[in-house]
């Protein structure tokens, strides 16, 4: 579904992503794991196209230059130079790191903003679905987004991304700053979303422990390069992964 070939991203002379080849298969959950500075967020920005906006902004103020090389194909179509809005229209929806919900809009409004590209029938259906998988949101409909707790905000962010009718959902560090209990709950919800709706999911995380079991295929990033890949089972049995991510 998503095919990344020889992707390289430079921030001025610093190499953030080094020659990554990555595949997301349809209706599967793909995981990308790595420590800080491994290039996870840059990868997400590059796939969603936000990096093109950042690049333009830096050019205007004479800041650092961003170079993107390689190719990204989505459903057989080359999207390397496509605008982020156009990519969203084609179904690549990013649920950004640190959630970035609209703090002054209510929960319901946040979800409705997400449904801007959807038809009203789709929006209604998805709204019901979001409230089924994230029941706590239902009682918080009218609360302002900024007043939600971290876990509720993350549910809202994923819900908002779902409202945009994704074909490929990009989840950038969905477990950031959450309690272990919440991590497990969210991981389960993510697996359910994939199983129930068939939306392909690409997920990046530092904490592999709760996420690794739910992915179908995973990649390990280190300093911008993909050093390991394999199915969930293969990765969990790999001794390096065990020591690095499970402390065994």
């Amino acid at each position: 579904m998503l095919e990344i070939r020889g992707l390289m991203v430079f921030y001025e002379n610093a190499l953030a992503i080094n020659n990554i080849n990555l595949n997301c298969q349809g209706e599967k959950v793909t995981g990308v794991f790595g420590a800080n500075s491994a290039g996870k967020s840059t990868l997400m920005y590059t796939i969603s196209g936000i990096i093109l906006d950042v690049k333009k902004k830096e050019e205007m103020k004479g800041g650092e230059r961003i170079t993107v090389l390689g190719s990204i194909a989505f459903d057989g179509m080359d999207i390397t130079h496509m605008k982020p809005s156009e990519r969203a229209r084609r179904g690549i929806i990013l649920c950004p790191e640190r959630r970035r919900i609209f703090p002054e809009s209510s929960t319901l409004e946040n979800l409705k903003i997400g449904a801007y590209l959807a038809t009203s029938i789709q929006a209604k259906k998805t709204l019901d679905y979001v409230f089924t998988i994230f029941p706590p949101l239902k009682n918080l409909k009218n609360r302002e987004g900024g007043f939600l707790s971290g876990g509720e905000q993350q549910m809202l962010a994923i819900g908002r991304a779902l409202m945009a009718q994704p074909k490929l959902l990009l989840l950038d560090e969905p477990l950031l700053g959450l309690s272990p209990l919440m991590e497990v709950m969210l991981a389960r919800s993510i697996r359910d979303i994939n199983a129930q709706t068939g939306i392909s999911i690409l997920i990046t995380e530092q904490y592999a422990r709760p996420i690794l079991p739910i992915v179908h295929y995973g990649y390990i990033l280190e300093n911008g390069g993909a050093v390991l890949q394999g199915t969930s089972q293969e990765l969990m049995e790999n001794p390096d992964v065990k020591s690095a991510y499970f402390g065994l």
Binding site: N13, M60, K61, G62, R65, T67
Partner: protein, 341 residues
């Protein structure tokens, strides 16, 4: 433009010049080449500024130089406040007006010569402006800008309505400078001193605190520093520069009036900062030396002047918003080359 030239295998690499790296340490005095690398740009600016009065063809253009310099002082103050302390100030008119009136009053009422009125107006004006802006210091961004914009309007209307300080006629008969040469060279020396002084200041310890206030004022407060105190110091410096310009203006025109509270003094420094490149300090100064004369040249177009002027500004903001000096400094310090990926 270079987007089209990036092929899959090549990208343009941007590196610091070797000489730039060498001149950062003690090796700066290693050879004439290194020394001139450091000194030449600064010397070019200083000599260029000092030559200006000699090169100007007419009396009219010589007067323009003095006016440009006053705008340059304001632009320096604006750039300092906006890019090093994080306060967007529209108070240029406020500073100029305050300084101008104080100098005129000191000269008329007490008979002091410009030698005394200018420094006194600088300090008193800075003190008054800082005091009046003190309640607004906790504000940031557009709120601080609005407050600084309101003061000159309020003061001008108060003077007009109460008919004090000469009312709409202003204060006439202020002493002028003994000669044109003193008038021009004094202000040029002042802006050179202000430029290099500010550049030194923002790299001192206190400059680090200023930048901290800009980037994250809560972290500065958490480090046990009063941000209001540091903002007040910064406003004192910037309003001092503005008041100095205002006092100078009063003595140049031998008159002080409510047109010194005109919004030109707030707006042109901002435009100059955009063109020259914000955060470089020297950029806004050069921006003034480009913008103000261009606006004078465009007088030939009559009322269409403002149209052309705005057009130039808009094009600049849309296509080269980094500013001249940011671009020039990059070209001077770094080189580019194609590398194979």
């Amino acid at each position: 433009m270079d987007k089209n030239r990036v092929t899959p295998e090549r990208r343009k690499e941007r590196l610091d010049r070797g000489i730039k790296v060498r001149t950062e340490g003690i090796y700066a005095i290693a050879s004439w080449e290194e020394i001139s690398y450091l000194v030449l740009p600064r010397l070019l600016l200083i000599v260029g500024l000092l030559l200006l009065p000699l090169l100007m063809p007419s009396l009219y253009w010589k007067r323009v130089i003095s006016i440009v310099s006053i705008y340059a002082l304001l632009a320096l103050g604006f750039d300092f406040l906006a890019h090093f302390v994080g306060l967007v100030s529209l108070g240029g008119a406020f500073f100029v007006g305050t300084g101008g009136y104080i100098a005129a009053i000191l000269n008329k009422a007490f008979g002091l010569s410009p030698t005394f009125t200018i420094p006194m107006a600088t300090l008193a004006g800075a003190a008054i402006c800082t005091l009046l802006l003190l309640p607004a210091l906790p504000l940031r961004g557009v709120y601080f800008a609005i407050v600084t914009l309101m003061y000159p309007l309020v003061l001008a209307r108060i003077i007009e309505a109460l008919n004090i300080l000469g009312g709409t006629d202003g204060i006439l008969g202020v002493a002028g400078f003994p000669s044109r040469w003193i008038e021009q060279y004094l202000i040029l020396l002042i802006i050179i001193l202000a430029l290099f002084g500010l550049r030194r200041l923002v790299n001192e310890d206190i400059g680090l605190v200023f930048r901290g206030v800009k980037d994250n004022d809560q972290a500065v407060r958490a480090s046990g520093l009063s941000i209001t105190f540091y903002k007040a110091i910064a406003v004192f410096i910037a309003s001092g520069l503005g008041s100095l310009g205002g006092a100078y203006l009063s003595h140049i025109y031998m008159w002080s009036g409510i047109s010194q509270f005109a919004l030109d003094f707030s707006i042109i420094p901002i435009a100059a900062t955009v063109i020259g490149g914000g955060g470089t300090l020297v950029g806004p100064l050069l921006g003034c030396f480009i913008l103000v004369p261009v606006s004078e040249l465009l007088r030939a177009f009559g009322t269409l002047r403002i149209v052309f002027y705005s057009l130039i500004l808009m094009l600049f903001i849309m296509f080269r918003s980094e500013g001249i000096m940011v671009y020039a400094q990059r070209k001077y310090h770094q080189f580019e080359r194609w590398v194979k990926v």
